[in-house]
Amino acid sequence: MRIIIKFILKNVWEKKLRTLLILASVMLSSALYFATEALSDTAADMFLERFRVYYGTADLLIYPTRESPSSFFYRNRAEQFGDELEYIVGSIETSATLSHHGETLRLSVNGFTLPELEKLNPFFLTGEDKLLPFRGKKLIISKKTAADYGFKLGDYLELDLLGAKRKFYIAALAEPVGPFQDDGQNINVVVPLDTLATILNARGRVAILYLKLKDPARKGELMEKLRAAYPRYQVAETITIQELKEYTRTLTTTFQLMGTVVLFMAVYIINTSFKVITRERLPMIGTFRSIGATRKMTSFVLIAESITYGAIGGLLGCGLGFILLYLITLQIASFPGATITLRYTPAQLGQAFLLAVLISLVSSLLPILKIAKIPVKEIIFNTISKPTRRKRWKTVLGLILIAGAVFLPPYIPFPLLLPVGMLLIFASIIGCILLIPGLTNLFLTVFARVYRYLFGNEGILAAKNLRGNKGILNNISLLAIGISSLLMINTISFSVATEVTNFYRNCNFQIWGWVWQADRNLEAILRKIEGVEAVYGIYSANYLEITNRKDRINLIHGVNKYKHLDFWELDIDPELLAELDTGRKILLTNTLRERLQVQKGDLLTLKMSRGERTYQIIGFYDSLMWNGNFALIAEKYMKMDMGKQYYDDLFIKTNLDPDLVSATLKKRLERRYPSINTIADFEASDRENNASFFRVMRGFSLLALVIGIFGVFNNLIISFLERQRALAVLRSVGMSKNQALKMFLIEALTGGLIGGIVGALCGYLLISISPMILKAVAGKFPIHQSLSLYLSSILAGILITVTASTSPALKSSKLDIVSAIKYE
């Protein structure tokens, strides 16, 4: 046994490149696994940190809604639960602007008392001047903001606050953490609570209460009591980890997909490497077996080798995982001032390590067992029966798998769609791999014809060499797997992004806003403002439960039949829309129709503010806005059943520059806490969000490409070693160095081209199948194909193989013909 191990160690040392490749594949897979697993917690943590700017450490919030009698309230009713609470912190928050060197700065002005702020969200002052007593027109600002704009302790800032210009004295500077953290949008300043209360004529009252519980487990119970105490105000939880996880789910899902791709490639690379390893070791194994080693012994040693690769790769992978996690977090932490703390559990590390060992073991097991079955005699006399050349069953099975994936989805019942769909995607990937040899031969036949004219006789020769060449086939498979999966992932995320931007195409208005206590009167006022062409206020309800279907509708609009179709691009017959007014009737998107499995005439019972109400479905329409999860009822029933007094959204058409009009509106409505944005603003911010997401995706794709290059390089080196002799023969019958170079280049080009094309084809297939399956999670899902993505995949395939083949090509011109020929 010792001697076998010694031989193997020597062999491993001789084949450093291959060892490296196996380790790299294992390492990357486990690193990605770890990073993905830990990302979810890390990202949630990071966002939680971000939200601390707003909520501090509070568990609950109480604040007025549009239905509240006043935007200010007394804190005494909350104080009666004082013994259950760690703290009650009251605040009034508003915004202000500040002219600074011709630039208008937006400030979040938060009124607190200092002891309360300290409890809610600890801060650290770096300097103060007449801070105490914290009364009157004093403010605290972050050190960073002060440095950015050149403000100093003791300066006066003239704020445009609540309708008048007011001078505030900078009484302290604070570290840019906690309440003074930069959220990338507003500058946060703290002023005395009393000061704001006085200006707003609300002394003794607050606009928001922050509560922290002594026992978080009693949250639900206490919320009920608080709701009873403040019946017309909102009692809400601050953001929970659960919500944040939900929020970061899209991100982590994408990474999981990517990880799966890398896993596939790693398995493939390790598997091919082990095929070569076992073949190389065959004579040695034969010799050992002939002198008495058992089958178990030789297999055991090989398995131990693969486990060792797994273990080393796993350890390295955990290390790389940390780096990766850090880099990804850095990317998604696109807001300034984000603090990055990596969050992971030892279990995640353990799993990543275990995965590494498992991948290595599983991918090498088949080749190891295969050679264990070969009788000793055959090994020694080198009479191992060569595999039959054509495996037609592979093509047939591949076609069956793909056909299944293409034709089955419509027949799968909705609840099973997700699990079965995932299986089908896997099946079609395997189907593609099985089809690769057949497809390759097909392409080679075509190319051989064309190449004669394109590249002359070297072209014919290259095509002949490629046929049945294992190394090339491996390369094409590797490329095809990588390219098709990357195509799928990139296309789907591209589609999501496009869909998000497409949303705004359906808006026939330029400004979207919300204003406190907006009603018909306000509409009339707005209409008189210069530049405002038309105004449409709408009532809406979110997440209404459908009691007779055990499901929810994410959004219902209470529509005005005269205005709705004028403001929104919706494919609905106006007469059908008008019919909504004739009773409790509802129009659903086709996506909802499928999801709820309903038809025209069915009744839906909705749990609304005024109790359960039953609506009759009068029709369906196509729309992908809000993921297709929204419905329309008449304005008057929405008002009635939801007890709405004020509009939830205002849509405004303008014929002037929307930015100007939006600025005017903000100014005119200042006292009503307006939140007004142009559609162009929304689009831009969505684009920005998408951009950082795409950066991560591109990084990932690049990573996969690098492994691809490694794998292809490995295959090319192996096949070069195998072909050395054949190359020497070709040289001996008159092939010049240039001809050899040309042949290699054509081979690489063809391999890359076929890999790219097959990858694109498989990718197309996967992309066509996935929407049927995605329907289960995301509603109807339109796919936006990007031709340039396909073309660049094919180009990437060519680039990878050509790059990877430079080394063997150069080696070929230095080949010593005589020794390559003499050796037998």
Binding site: K386, G456, N457, I460, L461, K464, N465, R467, G468, N469, R725, A726, A728, V729, L730, R731, S732, V733, G734, M735, S736, K737, N738, Q739, I817, V818, I821, K822, E824
Partner: protein, 225 residues
């Protein structure tokens, strides 16, 4: 008779780390057009090395090789490749066929490399397949052929471009006596009917008997009989 291959003061030294092995020590040889020559000598005497130098597969340490009046030592890679595919044909002990190409493709390699159209060589190919007796095996790959058959493919490959010279390194070394005789008769026929110059390296007296002249190599020097 005109000389077709000439070697002048040919020296070849192999360096293996520190040690230098002088294998050929000043070979002066002239081989005339249409001759059938055998090179003999003990194992390790440098026969193969000499043959490869004559075919330009390796470069001499010093000395010159002239083929058809041209010094191949000063030729560029492209010229020497053209020489190999048009003027020389090699036959090796271990056949050295390309395993994934079939018989026809293997034979046509020199034509392919010469940039000629395969179609114009069809009749030629038929004739050569006839000569070597492999007309019914044209679609087989080397793996599916016997050793003697493989060697005949190698000879056919050496003939396809109608070279003036055939260089063979122990063409029968790996074959049984009967098959070896067949190969030698084939070479003799080619020499006599087509007037090709043939230089073969061999250990076998029987094989050498087919040639007109024997060159003996010993300790890197020529001992002509």
């Amino acid at each position: 008779m005109s000389p077709i291959i000439e070697t002048i003061q040919l020296y070849k030294t192999f360096k293996m780390g520190e040690i230098e092995v002088e294998v050929l020590k000043g070979i002066d040889l002239t081989i005339n057009a249409g001759e059938f020559v055998s090179i003999m000598g003990p194992s390790g005497s440098g026969k193969s090395t000499l043959l490869y130098l004559m075919g330009g597969l390796d470069k001499p340490t010093t000395g010159q090789v002239w083929i058809k009046g041209r010094n191949i030592a000063v030729m560029k890679d492209k010229e020497i490749s053209i020489l190999r595919r048009r003027t020389l044909g090699f036959v090796f002990q271990f056949y050295n066929l390309i395993p994934n190409l079939n018989v026809e493709d293997n034979i046509m390699l020199p034509v392919l490399l010469d940039g000629k159209r395969l179609k114009s060589y069809r009749r030629k190919l038929e004739a050569i397949l006839e000569t070597v007796g492999l007309a019914d095996r044209r679609r087989h790959t080397p793996r599916e052929l016997s050793g003697g058959q493989q060697q005949r493919v190698a000879i056919a490959r050496a003939l396809i471009n109608e070279p003036d010279i055939i260089l063979a390194d122990e063409p029968t070394g790996n074959l049984d006596t009967k098959t070896g005789t067949g190969i030698m008769e084939l070479l003799q026929k080619i020499n006599q009917e087509q007037g090709k110059t043939i230089v073969q390296v061999t250990h076998s007296r029987e094989a050498a008997a087919y040639s007109q002249r024997i060159i003996n190599l010993r300790d890197g020097k020529v001992w002509e009989q």
